[in-house]
């Protein structure tokens, strides 16, 4: 029957999980046995970085002072170690290389200023992309090599050169700004004259005899007019920023108590496109010298009676001052106007000439920074310099992490074991290249790193990245912990597919993802709206594939079934259908079910059972992974007091339910009689509340079933106290027997460490040439180790739910109680939670059915062309908007929840911290990102 397909399909996925976990678990045990003895064992360790984070070692790094820069430079390029901060207590400016960092920062500020000027003068800059960085580093290296031995003082050269150039540029720019200011002033004067000219004509026509009296000596002051025989009429003209103009007018009114007449005229400015070069609009625009944006100004003209002559005028001038208003002398007659006009024109022309000349000089100077200087590079020199300085800063920052002694620097670092040879090779290479300087030393300090809270390094590629991100969002894997990301690669898209199953919708998603994968490079180059999808394209691919596949299982193409193999149900006459004897629909659901009256009953029962089966197996995988973890950390208490009873409980309750489901599926109930088919739920209620009594047997006469059910019930009940009691008891016994456990543990550490470290060291001796270093852990390091170990034990204690510090029986008991309750109740509620697989797939199927029937099927039946057209529009939009956007997101979220809560809560702590290697590429990429 079709069920067989599903069974094999289910088992195939199920077996995939168990194969992984089982084998890796076994290999784990194996690894622990061999890894300390043979190099062959070490190789197998190195290959094991999929399931766990990469194995790490704690190394000591000793750098002679004179070659520290060279070595750091190299280490940053190969990017495989993470330095530990040895001077945590010291603030940054107390450290050894603080003044270098300061110099770098000053340079950064300088370059920022240059960049601002470049932008202001619209000189093109070729910005670097993160992808260019490796190439840039290569170019930089070859550029520095051409400089020979002096490549270390390139920084000094950059410093002196940039200061010199900046001073020159700055001078020119200031000259340019001054020229703009002067130009503005003449331009404003021109406008003032233009606006006031007509006014005087009007005034003189009205026969207010205006004549000049007592012309002040300085030309800046306004020229006053006195009407012959009448009150003196005086004028004050100038310009003021437009936004201040109303306030200005109001204040003048108030101060002079209305005894003035103020008029404002806007100065019209041409509309300006921000991309336009200012050369084009400079001639008739008032520009703000700082921002190079047009300033809107008004011409004001104040007419006042010169009665209390000096008082009023003095006040008006004071107001003008307080508003930064510029005053201009106004000529008295037409001839003067003409003369002034000529003068202003001449001034404007000469200012423009000056501006143009300065501009050419500045452009020439800035062009130096706009072009590339390094061989084979395409970014601007300013960017090259900024990256260079950022890299220098990074080197000094990392040198600051080391502890400094007379002639050498010493520090500790984390590195994956597999990178060890690269680091030693790199040091060796430096020794060869620079035979005159002493090379650094790189030795294993501690290979038994579990107590030191090592960073976990998980390598991802484009394919596995989104899946690992799903896990990391919940919590970063602890060092050595099983990384759920590996399993998520299959289980996540699969569970999504179960919820989203539809041939059509899944197929569209699948095709979209395939297109994304094929066109990835083109899309990336085009920088369109699809770029964000690129990083998750493989996730979408698998999601689409599984949705497509599950669509075939459900036999559902946007609410239409496909009759691929010929239905097994034939018309018997009337509305009844009958199944052909011995006919099995080969794959998926028989299409006739979609038209059956009891379709929902059947499909629901099938999907619900499927959800339970998948859920229980998913959770069982989680429980097995817990065993893998506890074996890896050799925590036998967890293995026997948590894993074993939890597994027992799960198998005896829901594991049995899954078995019952399969038995029921596999039995041909029409032979037994349909009325005798037991309900799974009733069977289970009976099992728990009636002590395993069987009313309707699943197989045989029910006696064997009764025995099995009673045994399972007994085991499940037993496993609850098993989870609850032994663990706190054992811990308590351990603690009360040996005194404070903290002491013992520390003693253990101290006994073990030199031995193991020595062991690690021995095995390394074969591998690298640096074997003449004696292992003498410095006292400070010792201190750090112990502080680290106490820290990590705290972390661990927290993670495992029992503190290693002072033993508190009550706390441990409460914790155990909570965990037990959580597991027992959790296994019920989590199983129920997996029913969302059914619920969402039901919702999806019903929605697509409604959309199809209401939008499309009705209008097709009516047969009108327009109806079909409109209906199709609606159908397409609804399908795209609701099913292909919202429902994808909904199913995604529910799959996410199933992984985070139902699956990972069984074994995953996620309390680790990521390995961040000292790498120029990543730190420069960060600096680029920060700039945006």
């Amino acid at each position: 029957s079709e069920m067989c397909i599903i069974v094999s399909f289910f088992f195939s996925s199920r077996r995939r999980h168990t194969r992984c976990s089982g084998v890796s678990w076994a290999r784990d045990v194996y690894k622990r046995q061999v890894s300390t003895q043979s190099t062959w064992g070490k190789l197998s360790v190195i290959k094991m970085s999929l399931l766990r984070s990469q194995p790490m070692k704690y190394y000591k790094l000793v750098l002679p002072r004179e070659s520290a820069w060279t070595i750091m430079n190299k280490l940053g390029e190969i990017s495989c170690l993470q330095l530990v901060d040895m001077n945590e207590g010291e603030s940054t400016f107390q450290r050894k290389y603080a003044n270098y960092i300061k110099r770098c920062e000053e340079l950064e500020v300088r370059f920022k200023q240059v960049e601002q000027e470049l932008k202001k003068f619209k000189v093109p800059i070729n910005q670097p992309e993160p992808e260019d960085l490796p190439e840039f580093l290569h170019n930089l290296r070859s550029f520095l090599q051409t400089r020979g031995s002096s490549h270390q003082n390139f920084l000094e050269e950059v410093e002196s050169e940039s200061t010199e150039r900046w001073n020159k540029i700055n001078e020119q720019v200031r000259g340019y700004d001054d020229a703009i200011r002067q130009h503005n002033e003449w331009l404003e004067y021109k406008h003032v004259l233009g606006k006031t000219r007509g006014l005087f004509d009007a005034l003189s026509k009205e026969h207010v005899q205006v004549s000049n009296v007592a012309e002040p000596a300085s030309a800046d002051l306004p020229i006053d007019y006195v009407a012959a025989g009448g009150p003196r009429v005086c004028f004050l003209a100038g310009t003021i920023p437009k936004e201040d103009s109303l306030r200005f007018k109001r204040m003048i009114f108030r101060v002079t108590r209305g005894n003035t007449w103020t008029t404002l005229y806007d100065i019209e400015q041409p509309a300006i496109n921000p991309d336009q070069d200012e050369d084009e609009y400079l001639e008739d625009t008032i520009l703000d010298p700082a921002s190079r944006k047009p300033v809107f100004k008004c011409v004001f003209l104040i007419v006042y009676r010169g009665g209390s002559y000096d008082v009023l005028k003095g006040r008006l001038i004071k107001i003008c001052e307080s508003f930064n208003a510029k005053q201009f002398p106004v000529p008295e007659n037409e001839d003067d106007y003409k003369e002034k006009d000529r003068h202003i024109e001449g001034q404007l022309v000469s200012r423009r000439e000056l501006l143009r000349e300065t501009r050419t000089t500045i452009d020439y100077m800035l062009d130096y920074y706009s072009r590339s200087r390094f061989p084979r590079d395409r970014m601007s020199y300013i960017e090259e310099l900024r990256l260079f300085v950022a890299k220098e800063k990074e080197i000094y920052h990392h040198l600051n992490l080391l502890r400094s002694y007379e002639t050498y620097l010493e520090g500790f670092c984390w590195a994956p074991i597999e990178e060890e040879s690269r680091i030693t090779d790199c040091l060796f290479e430096i020794g060869n290249e620079h035979p005159t300087i002493a090379s650094g030393k790189f030795v294993v300090e501690d290979s038994q790193v579990e107590n030191l809270d090592p960073p976990s390094s998980i390598k991802t590629n484009e394919f596995s990245w989104p899946f690992q991100e799903i896990v990391n969002t919940y919590g970063f894997p602890r060092y050595g912990e099983v990384n759920p990301g590996l399993f998520t690669i299959i289980t996540f898209p699969f569970l999504f597919g179960v919820m989203f199953g539809d041939i059509g919708h899944g197929g569209i998603l699948f095709l979209f993802a395939i297109w994304l994968c094929l066109k990835a490079d083109d899309i990336k180059a085009g920088k369109g709206a699809l770029v964000p999808f690129l990083s998750v394209r493989y996730l979408l691919l698998l999601m689409g594939f599984f949705a497509f596949y599950c669509g075939f299982i459900y036999n559902d193409f946007m609410a239409i079934p496909w009759n691929l193999f010929g239905s097994c149900y034939i018309k018997k006459g009337g509305r009844e259908l009958e199944r052909e004897p011995d006919c099995t629909y080969p794959f998926g659901l028989d299409p006739r079910w979609h038209v059956a009256a009891n379709e929902l009953n059947f499909v629901n029962s099938f999907k619900m059972k499927l959800a339970i089966v998948l859920g229980v197996s998913h959770m069982l995988l989680g429980i097995f992974l817990k065993a893998v973890n506890s074996v890896h950390f050799s925590n036998m208490i967890d293995l026997f007091c948590e894993f074993v009873p939890q597994l027992t409980f799960m198998i005896c309750t829901f594991g049995y339910m899954v078995a019952a489901i399969f038995i029921k599926w596999a039995t041909d109930w029409s032979a037994v009689g349909l009325g005798n088919a037991p309900s799974i739920i009733t069977t289970f209620i009976d099992m728990f509340f009636n002590g395993g009594r069987v009313t309707k047997p699943l197989w045989g006469d029910g006696s064997s079933q009764e025995v099995i059910q009673r045994t399972f019930l007994f085991l499940a009940v037993i496993s609850v106290p098993w989870m609850l009691i032994p663990k706190p008891l054992i811990l308590w016994m351990q603690h009360s027997g040996d005194g404070p456990v903290k002491l013992k543990k520390e003693k253990d550490d101290h006994d073990k460490r030199p031995l193991l470290a020595g062991g690690g060291h021995d095995s390394d001796e074969e591998g690298n040439g640096l074997s003449k270093i004696e292992l003498q852990p410095s006292p400070t390091h010792e201190k750090q180790l112990s502080s680290d170990s106490s820290k990590s034990s705290k972390v661990k204690g927290h993670g495992h739910g029992h503190g290693h510090g002072e033993f508190d029986l009550g706390e441990v008991c409460v914790h155990s109680l909570i965990e037990t309750i959580e597991f027992v109740l959790g296994s019920v509620s989590h199983t129920a939670s997996y029913l969302r697989l059914w619920a969402l797939s039901l919702a999806h199927a019903e929605l697509s059915k409604v959309f199809f029937e209401k939008a499309l099927a009705d209008s097709i039946e009516e047969g009108s062309f327009i109806g079909v057209l409109i209906g199709f529009m609606m159908f397409a939009n609804l399908t795209l908007g609701v099913l292909l956007s919202m429902d994808v997101m909904e199913c995604f979220l529910h799959a996410l929840r199933l992984h985070w809560i139902e699956f990972q809560s069984k074994f995953y702590k996620g309390t680790g911290h990521p390995f961040k290697p000292f790498s120029f590429v990543s730190s420069l990429a960060d600096s680029l990102k920060k700039r945006l």
Binding site: T92, F93, Q113, V255, R315
Partner: protein, 385 residues
């Protein structure tokens, strides 16, 4: 209900403000600041904090006054941004908070003009928090003519109403048949300090009324408490400072001037008003506020103002004690949810922080020995309560 709907209008601004809590310097940073040996070091420490890029393009040996001005500018910018995210009545609330600084600016400039200081220097030294565009026009002040200053410059500004009331109060004291000359001489005699105290008193009362009438219940509760405390502090300060001052402790001026200067609100008003007006010694002041344990404790250790000559520089002054108490109250108010007091507390605490930084910068630039008690004269917001 107010609690439930507070976020509808004010949630965003409150969230921003709450986020700004992370910008307060932590005690470790203060230690680092104390440890720095020169202003250049001092600057480097500040660069690691939220003030970060503020000094980056500055000359390493920048004077303390520039530091203060820059810090204040940053606070003012933040505050302006915050105000941009608010709607009424919160917007008005924030504006009223700024009025206080405007009063300070106006009075400072008036004082400067009286002392014939260059107006441009005065304007450059104004507190950015109390900036308003008309401030530049204060140069129009001539011959102490405050009424024309009001009618031409201040009338439109937030300071205007207070100034008008102040002028009314002053002129009311004169009798009917006055000449212009009388007014001029009256204006000449007014001390800027007197203007400041009177304006601030009016502002505080106005702010109090606003908080009482316009704010929602939770904000009201928090704000009134803070303002009452502030008013009481002011009252105690006025009385404390008048003790021993011959001019102010005569029986007549006790009732009039004190009444004029002490805000008419707070826990002490009006219950203790009578006792307070009659206070002539520190003992008397302690006696008058004995029913308020907080004030009693505050006054327990203050030096006696009547023996000013014996003041020990290292001892805590009344101001220090009050700053400390206020800082505690503001820190508490900051951490309460869904109320507008957070904005007031933020401004006050940031002010305290700037005061701390400037004080330490002063200490550093004077190269005071590290053993001096003056180093510990800073009050760290959120440090203890």
């Amino acid at each position: 209900m107010d609690l439930a709907f507070y976020n509808v209008d004010n949630g965003y601004a409150e969230a921003i403000c709450r986020g700004l809590r992370a910008s307060f310097l932590r005690p470790e940073k203060y230690e680092a600041l104390k440890a720095s040996s020169s202003l250049a070091d001092f600057k480097t420490v500040l660069e690691e904090t939220d003030y970060g890029s503020l000094f980056i393009s500055e000359n390493p040996t920048l004077p303390v006054s520039v530091i203060r001005q820059k810090l204040k500018k940053k606070l003012a910018d933040e505050f302006t941004y915050l105000a941009g995210q608010t709607v009424q009545p919160l917007y008005r609330f924030l504006q009223l908070m700024q009025s206080r600084y405007m009063i300070d600016n106006v009075v400072n400039i008036i004082e400067g003009i009286k002392n014939k200081v260059d107006i441009d220097i005065l304007i450059a030294n104004t507190d950015p928090l109390g900036y308003f565009p008309e401030i530049k026009s204060l140069r129009l002040l001539e011959a102490d003519d405050y009424s024309s200053l009001y009618s031409s410059v201040l009338i439109d500004t937030p300071v205007g109403p207070y100034f008008m009331k102040f002028l009314e109060d002053v002129l009311e004291a004169l009798n009917e048949n006055i000449t212009i000359h009388d007014i001029q001489s009256l204006f000449k005699d007014i001390k800027p300090e007197f203007i400041r105290t009177s304006l601030k008193k009016m502002w505080l009362e106005d702010f109090y009324t606003f908080c009482e009438n316009e704010l929602d219940d939770n904000s009201k509760q928090v704000m009134l408490d803070l303002l009452k405390f502030e008013a009481d502090c002011k009252t105690i300060q006025v009385i404390y400072n008048s003790i021993g001052n011959k001019e102010l402790s005569s029986a007549a001026s006790r009732s009039s001037t004190r009444k004029h200067l002490c805000p008419s609100l707070g826990h002490l008003y009006p219950d203790c008003e009578r006792e307070l007006t009659n206070v002539t010694s520190l003992e008397g002041l302690r006696e008058a506020v004995k029913y308020f344990s907080q004030y009693r404790d505050m006054l327990r250790d203050v030096p006696d103002p009547q023996r000013r000559d014996e003041f020990n520089v290292d001892a805590k002054s009344l101001d220090d004690i009050m700053y400390e108490e206020e800082s505690k109250m503001y820190s508490l108010a900051f951490d309460l949810q869904n109320q507008s007091g957070i904005f007031y507390a933020y401004l006050k605490l940031k002010e305290q922080e700037i005061r701390n930084i400037v004080w330490l910068a002063e200490m550093v630039s004077r190269k005071l020995p590290k053993t001096s008690k003056a180093w510990s004269k800073i009050i760290i917001p959120f440090a203890r309560y």
